[in-house]
């Protein structure tokens, strides 16, 4: 399992973390169309490229953190 570098705890096994999802902005609820909202719910970049993700260091500092990871190689940008 890959290592993720937590800004608080340092390099740790990915098993200590929960993957939450690609980082994305929540649309303005008062204005979002069905199309926009469902895009927010379901569409993802899913590129074999550098991607900003939200992870939760569940078995560590309990912080939610942004991880920039290359989905093709699992490299993590420090």
């Amino acid at each position: 399992m890959m290592l993720l570098t937590c800004p608080h705890c340092g390099a740790r096994d990915a098993g200590e973390f929960d993957y939450v999802g690609e980082r994305r902005d929540r649309p303005d609820v008062s204005r979002a169309t069905e199309q926009e909202w469902r895009g927010y719910l379901y569409l993802r970049g899913n590129r074999a490229d550098w991607t900003a993700e939200l992870w939760h260091h569940r078995a560590g500092c309990e912080r939610f953190l942004t991880v920039v990871r290359h989905l093709g190689t699992d490299e993590v940008r420090g």
Partner: protein
């Protein structure tokens, strides 16, 4: 002769959790990942959370003391004595036992006396405080109370080859 391995139940110790005030006095006393003795044991448990471990029955005192030290920031103080099981693992073989259940490096260079970390221990989240006793390796292990019996069973099993003994507090 190497110190024999023993496991002591310390669950009865008072535990008070302080959340918030990451730039305050507590942070100065024990930054995240470090513990400091000062009568009670102040543990930098989370980036914005401290655990004060004190003698049994002293929760009110500890809460009052922390409250008195407030500097106006947003701080929450909660008595969590009952929320966690706390055991102490002492002896020369203590690192060998931890190496069976935990992926964190427990060598002197990586986690010296006073080091604190939170990680997976035998599949559950637990906090570890290295708190040597008179030069002998010693660790305080803290986990959710409902997992307490499980953790003790795991430690006894992993420590069996080192003749682990169970001691009352």
């Amino acid at each position: 002769m190497a110190e024999p391995l023993r496991l002591t139940d310390c669950t009865a110790l008072t535990k008070v959790l302080v959340r918030g005030g990451a730039d305050g006095a507590l942070a100065a006393g024990a930054p995240y990942g470090r513990a400091r003795r000062d009568g009670s044991l102040l543990v930098g448990l989370l980036p914005d959370g401290w655990l004060v471990i004190a003698p049994p029955g002293s929760a009110t005192d500890v809460v009052d003391r922390v409250d008195a030290g407030r500097d106006g920031g947003f701080i929450t103080v909660v008595d969590v004595t009952h929320a966690y099981t706390l055991v102490r693992l002492t002896g020369a073989a203590a690192p060998s036992v931890l190496e069976k259940v935990c992926s964190i490096d427990v060598a002197e260079a990586a986690t010296p006396d006073g080091a604190v970390f939170r990680s997976l221990l035998a599949g559950i989240t637990a906090s570890v405080v290295r708190d040597d006793e008179g030069g002998t390796r010693s660790y305080l292990l803290l986990c959710d109370r409902s997992y307490g019996q499980y953790l003790v069973d795991v430690l006894l099993d992993a420590g069996a080859e080192y003749d682990i003994g169970v001691h009352p507090h």
